[in-house]
């Protein structure tokens, strides 16, 4: 007899959690997408693919943007659509060159608002030194979309012979975060849910291109880079631990977190390690180069809170473990879906 407690029938429809970058997303990718469209390039599951075309090494990436609300403190869907794709290219140490942009617009959407979105998309592209080389517009019936969705695809030139990759972490490496954690996720949550937390917190959405290219001179000593998006720091670390077959240990008290982000997380029962960013990355480097990397990142305004937050271990391969503020240990697991605020 099927026991009452067993969850069944969860596989026949898409849930929001399938898009949250956690375990459900992973299942969808592994069970639905990779078996049909996987190949030696796609199967790497890096932020951007690395393609050899003629003599050139090209980084290639695509992303769709469905953020709600469309306008949030510190940006809007237009700037985000540039930053997200540029940052994916930057995680292969590529110099971003061109973007394609597709707009899917809902009938009835105000052209004035669309103009504001395009204006900030244009501004972000200029700052990231990329050109929009192809574009498309579609309009769907009222009610069939959420105002505007944007897809961007980007290409860039990989300028190093040693592009970092998600499977290259080695025991003994140190883990560095480019700056503080979670501003984007909390800014969006406050704007979306109308939470009046009396904070002027802005999203961290930004182009990481220039900051990432500062690390090019590390050559083969730079092993992994990952930008922190959905699923936050925890997803990025778990993906690296899994792909590189290594353990990861971080120190909770060394992870930089803005006081307003910490405060909001305390109130809502959220763990900042799982909150989304759109302008932060982690990199994993050979231990004797770590101090140099932090100093270098700190020279850039986007890297001012840069810090070493942990190390790669031989122990517990595939697992991310955190050393807590009081000296205990805990696992930092990948979430199965979105993080849900707790009752009490």
């Amino acid at each position: 007899m099927e026991s009452c407690g067993i969850a069944i029938g969860f596989s026949d429809v898409i849930r929001l959690g399938h898009g949250s970058g956690g375990k459900l997303t992973e299942q969808l990718v592994e069970k639905v997408f990779l078996p049909k469209i996987g190949n030696s390039i796609l199967n790497e599951l890096d932020d951007a693919a690395s393609l050899k075309i003629g003599d050139a090494n090209i980084a290639f990436s695509t992303d769709s943007y469905v953020v709600k609300p469309l306008f949030f403190p510190g940006g809007n869907i237009g700037s985000l659509a540039v930053h997200g794709t540029v940052n994916d290219l930057s995680m292969r140490l590529a110099r971003p060159l061109y973007l394609s942009v597709s707009f899917i617009i809902e009938e009835g959407f105000r052209i004035g608002e669309l103009s504001r979105i395009v204006e900030s998309l244009s501004q972000a592209a200029k700052e990231s030194q990329v050109d929009v080389a192809a574009a498309d517009t579609k309009v769907v019936n009222r009610g069939a979309g959420d105002g505007v969705y944007i897809n961007t695809t980007g290409i860039g030139i990989i300028e190093t012979r040693h592009p970092p990759a998600v499977r290259k972490a080695r025991p003994g490496d140190l883990i560095i975060i480019s700056s503080d954690l979670g501003r984007h996720g909390i800014a969006i949550l406050c704007a979306r849910e109308g939470l009046e937390l009396e904070t002027d917190l802005l999203s961290d959405s930004a182009s990481l291109s220039a900051l990432a290219l500062r690390l090019a001179r590390l050559g083969p000593a730079l092993h992994c880079m990952r930008d922190l998006t959905r699923g936050g720091l925890s997803s990025a670390l778990n993906e690296i631990a899994h792909a590189s077959k290594v353990g990861i240990e971080i120190n909770d008290s060394q992870v930089p977190i803005h006081p307003a982000v910490r405060g909001a997380c305390e109130l809502l029962g959220l763990d900042p390690l799982y909150v989304a960013c759109e302008g932060r990355f982690i990199c994993i480097v050979e231990a004797d180069r770590a101090d140099e990397v932090v100093e270098n990142l700190k020279l850039d305004p986007l890297g001012q809170e840069s810090a070493i937050i942990g190390r790669v271990t031989e122990e517990h391969p595939g697992r991310v473990v955190s050393r807590t503020a009081i000296g205990g240990r805990r696992i930092v697991d990948k979430l199965s879906g979105d993080q849900l605020p707790r009752i009490c």
């Binding site: 067993i6 069944i8 029938g9 910490r262 503020a325 009081i326 696992i331 009752i343």
Partner: protein
Amino acid sequence: MKYVDEYRDLELAGNLANELRQLCSKRWTIMEVCGGQTHTILQYGIEDLLPETINLVHGPGCPVCVTPVALIDKAIAIALDPSVIFCSFGDMLRVPGSAIDLLEAKARGADVRIVYSPLDALNIAQRNNDKKIVFLAVGFETTAPANAMAIHQAKKLGISNFFVLSTQVTVPPVCAAILQAPNNQVEALIGPGHVCTITGLKEYKFLAEHYKIPIVVAGFEPLDILQAILACARQLESQRFDVINQYSRVVESEGNRFARNLLEEVFDLCDREWRGLGWIPKSGLKLSSDYRSFDAEREFASIATSECQESPECISGQILRGNKKPTDCAAFGITCTPGRPLGATMVSSEGTCANYYKFKRFDLGSANA
């Protein structure tokens, strides 16, 4: 961060652990009642600091976990009614019923919304006159006053499309049920700080006297828990059975009189089934006769309650009583995971098994284990 970092201090935590190590002459079994405290213990790895003389067992204080499957099924059936907007706190949405959970109901077209306060649900009711708004009221005495306030407001404002499905429970009856069981091993209780903010300490003084057991009402930060363990151990070593208020920065001995009066007005005590523990007399809160028209059970009486059989493998009843730990269970992490929980304690982020699964599986090798 002020008022937070002070309670997570590495050196002070070490000092408290050392004091415990020197104090204990034998092994003591201490239960933290509240799921929030269980979460802190696992999230901060507090057990890594404790001497072997302290055996922490984890109590029944996760209201999400102990909600019977039949009630979750009822909630889902109500949510799937096209005339309903179903409102809930976030962590109820992923609790599996016998077939699906509320998130799946949402994916299948139900209008399910996360709210941060029951008053948000009331606002939704005011803006959607053509819909029935049902709020799933889960929780202990801590969350009950806000639920009571929403119902009270609904009556005052004459709102007739707002309903509450109450699965609310109270803490002292379940403590008594655990302490009076013949095979009880619990020797001291860490009491639920936020619950006592509302109720005060009176009922806990009765429990301490009646069952000859020390109770330390505590907060939710790592140092709160460590201090409470130390205060329990000191009493056990000298065989004293008092109620100590460790959480005096929040809890007053009388509790919150206004909130208690509101609870008495809006709710009546009722017998309630606890998942994993069975029926416990006078352990639930249902809407009182004056507020009966807001009771979702009455409005949706035609939706039958399903008959549910718990998994024979699951030992959550033993875990909730403090007799066993998740690692004693053959199904733990294998056939029973947060995605497919077999029983109460794997269900929510405050459940003991879910906490062990999330924070304590160091040796299972792969992240996908």
